[in-house]
């Protein structure tokens, strides 16, 4: 068993690793992260997760519900630390997994991965208390500076494979005219909700004729993959990429490429695009707005629509805001908030969720790089008047509750009677 595997085992048991090992881990992590672009490209299938906030036992519950690394690919959208009691254990475990399985886990930066914020909201104090000095906090902050700012999920499938027997609407599920678009599962794996949409018949590749169902799909899978004519019914229509960021959009950023130009290796600044990506929030407004707090942007449905269209995105996944149901889709499904800290701060009683994006097997697992990344515009189609509409990816939300009290190694908190005045 390597040192790294030992460290992983130890951290999984919620026991810290020695300071010297943290230093080494952080060094390795930085070497790895420096090679990543500001926007990491991730192939589906991947499970997208929101804020963790040092709730270690709930992170373990997340892995239990979503599958373990490296069996499941994960993308964490930041805010690993602060607020909860186990920021160190949570972040160091994720970092170990990143170093051990770099292609299986992607970590992007949240607004809490910052020196300034961690000194106020708990992580700094936790480092001092658990390691006796600020060294470990400093190592971690150096890693924060190297975390990517976003990720693009490519090759997500438009249609979900049903999880199991769908008892509530059998008629729909057997109907070839509809495909499974979203599914919500509880932590036991039972389907609690599913939505369907009409199956798209138009071949978007040639933009004209609608193939009938008897025709052979125009784009079949690669020979020998077994994916050809899979019957998944994707008919070659495209699913756009999914952009994952912690906060949201920025008025300084109109293309994903502009995110790639940011010099990210620094403390999260108070101004500029980098700040916005980590801090801004969607809101039911038109266009852009200033937050009443006097700092921070809010953006409306039209902004998301334009951005997604321009960048061939079908969905923006972000975290940053607490939502009681664990996830919240807004703007006709153009953006979703994913929140992965159940019973936030050990007192909100909310559930958490993770978002699974499946792999599109319809073209043999070949990922269409059509998101301004590879095969970027050659100028001919640059401002194509009628881009074919993109289909949003099939979305499976797994909803879970806080880990049982007895696994968290601390007494259940009941208010203790006291003689307050």
């Amino acid at each position: 068993m390597s040192d790294l595997d030992r460290a992983i085992a130890q951290l999984r048991a919620c026991r810290l690793i020695p300071e010297s090992q943290v230093r080494e881990l952080c060094y390795k992590a930085r070497e790895l992260l420096i090679e990543e672009g500001n926007v990491v490209c991730v192939d589906a299938p991947v499970t997208v997760c929101g804020d963790i906030h040092g709730q270690f036992h709930d992170l373990m519950e997340l892995f239990r519900v979503g599958g373990d690394v490296p069996d499941t690919n994960y993308l964490f959208m930041g805010d690993f630390v602060d607020r909860g009691f186990y920021s160190l254990e949570s972040f160091l475990l994720l970092l170990c997994l990143k170093v051990r399985y770099p292609d299986r886990i992607t970590l992007i930066r949240g607004n809490h991965e910052s020196r300034q914020i961690t000194t106020v909201y708990g992580f700094y104090d936790e480092c001092i208390r658990k390691y006796g000095s600020a060294n470990v906090w400093r190592y971690c902050c150096e890693v924060f500076d190297y975390l990517a700012l976003g990720a693009l999920v490519l090759g997500a499938s438009a249609e979900l494979e049903p999880t199991g027997p769908v008892y509530n609407d059998t008629a729909l599920s057997t109907n070839d005219d509809n495909e499974l678009e979203t599914e919500v599962l509880n932590s036991k794996g039972d389907v609690t909700m599913s939505t369907y949409r009409p199956r798209q018949r138009t071949s978007l590749d040639n933009g004209s004729v609608s193939p009938t169902r008897d025709q052979v799909p125009l784009r079949t899978g690669a020979p020998g993959t077994g994916a050809s004519g899979s019957g998944a019914g994707s008919y070659g229509s495209r699913t756009g990429a999914v952009l994952c960021v912690h906060g949201g959009l920025s008025p300084l950023i109109d293309t994903v490429d502009k995110i790639r130009l940011i010099d990210r290796k620094q403390e999260v600044p108070h101004e500029g695009a980098m700040c916005d990506l980590l801090w801004s929030d969607p809101d039911e407004i038109d266009g852009w707005g200033l937050s009443p707090r006097g700092a921070g942007f809010l953006f409306g449905a039209d902004i998301v629509k334009q951005f997604n269209y321009k960048n061939d995105l079908s969905l923006i996944a972000r975290a940053h805001q607490l939502v009681m149901e664990g996830y919240k889709e807004m703007f006709d499904g153009g953006i979703v908030t994913v929140w992965s800290a159940p019973n936030y701060c050990y007192r909100c009683g909310n559930v958490a969720a993770i978002l699974e994006l499946g792999e599109d097997a319809s073209n043999g697992g070949t990922v269409t790089r059509s998101n301004g990344d590879y095969g970027r515009s050659n100028g001919i189609l640059s401002s194509a008047v009628d881009k074919p509409p993109l289909r949003s990816p099939g979305r499976r939300y797994r909803v879970f509750e806080a880990a049982a009290q007895d696994t968290r190694g601390m007494p259940a908190k009941k208010p203790v009677a006291d003689y307050f005045l």
């Binding site: 104090d125 937050s291 805001q321 009681m324 908190k413």
Partner: protein
């Protein structure tokens, strides 16, 4: 005098004694000498009730909104009652944006944006996003049991006695992290002894590097005389002034800045009100 703060194992904000498990607890209640005291603790509201509340209030509620929670005291004989709930507290928040605060780095932030985004100057839905409230509870009264101005203070000495506590609870009504610029929290606790009860509803707001605000409402009930005393105290001070005061005393500044109990001794009082209500039946004696 304020001994109610349990040291949290880690620096999370605010009191962590009012935890709630995801499975909601049923209302808690006790009746002592004709006074029924009840509390209810549920998880934060879901999307739909939040939407309904937003419409009704006219402002978006705080991030953590415990809209089903309450603490209530009812006097069965007179029908008088007082309860503390999030909606009524938030209904007293300034909804116009007149008393709007700005986060510490607002100037810096906006200045850096002026050149680039002429189009984006509009503040969206201005209101007092610190959710500062002067809420003193929602009173249901009849038979002329209204609160009257009073000069008779709450008998602190009686409350310092170690009488058995028959009932105790702490309930959060709302909380917001001010987008990581501090904390705002309204919580309520109550302890019931054989002869009296004390309820403390506390609004605490810390806007980092800007302002500290504490607004306490205390309700004291003497069961025998059926007399209710309500005391409202508002304290406030600029953040920097408090910081300097603590620095000169070599105190652990971050810890105290998180602890409303200790701040209560430091912040200057800017408003104080005392009221009394007598619930004894006027026609009987």
């Amino acid at each position: 005098m304020t001994s109610d703060h349990r040291a949290a194992p880690v620096a999370i904000l605010g009191s962590n004694t009012a935890a709630v498990s995801p499975s909601a607890q049923t209302p808690n209640a006790i009746t002592v000498k004709g006074f029924k005291i009840s509390t209810q603790k549920f998880p934060i509201l879901k999307a739909e009730p939040i939407e309904a509340m937003t419409k009704k209030l006219g402002i978006s509620p705080p991030e953590m909104i415990f809209g089903d929670n309450f603490v209530a005291i009812e006097h069965e004989k007179s029908g008088w009652a007082i309860n503390f709930n999030a909606f009524d507290a938030l209904d007293r928040v300034d909804k116009t944006g007149e008393s709007m605060l700005k986060v510490a780095y607002s100037k810096e932030w906006q200045k850096s944006r002026e050149a680039t985004h002429d189009g984006i100057k509009e503040v969206v839905k201005p209101f007092d996003w610190s959710y500062s409230t002067d809420y003193k509870g929602t009173v249901i009264t009849s038979h002329g049991h209204d609160f009257q101005e009073s000069s008779k203070p709450i008998p602190i000495e009686l409350l310092k006695r170690p009488d058995p506590i028959l009932f105790f609870d702490e309930v959060i009504l709302y909380e917001d992290e001010l987008a990581d610029n501090g904390i705002t929290m309204l919580s309520c606790k109550v302890r019931v002894m054989p002869a009296r009860l004390l309820l403390l509803s506390r609004f605490f707001m810390r806007l980092d590097n800007v302002l500290l605000r504490l607004r306490d409402t205390r309700v004291f009930v003497d069961f025998e005389s059926a007399e209710v005393t309500r005391e409202y105290q508002s304290k406030e001070c600029e953040y920097e002034a408090v910081r300097q005061k603590l620095a000169s005393a070599r105190d652990d500044i971050p810890a105290i800045m998180r602890d409303p109990n200790r701040l209560s001794d430091i912040l200057p009082t800017i408003e104080k009100r005392l009221e009394r209500a007598s619930l004894a039946n006027q026609w009987e004696d």
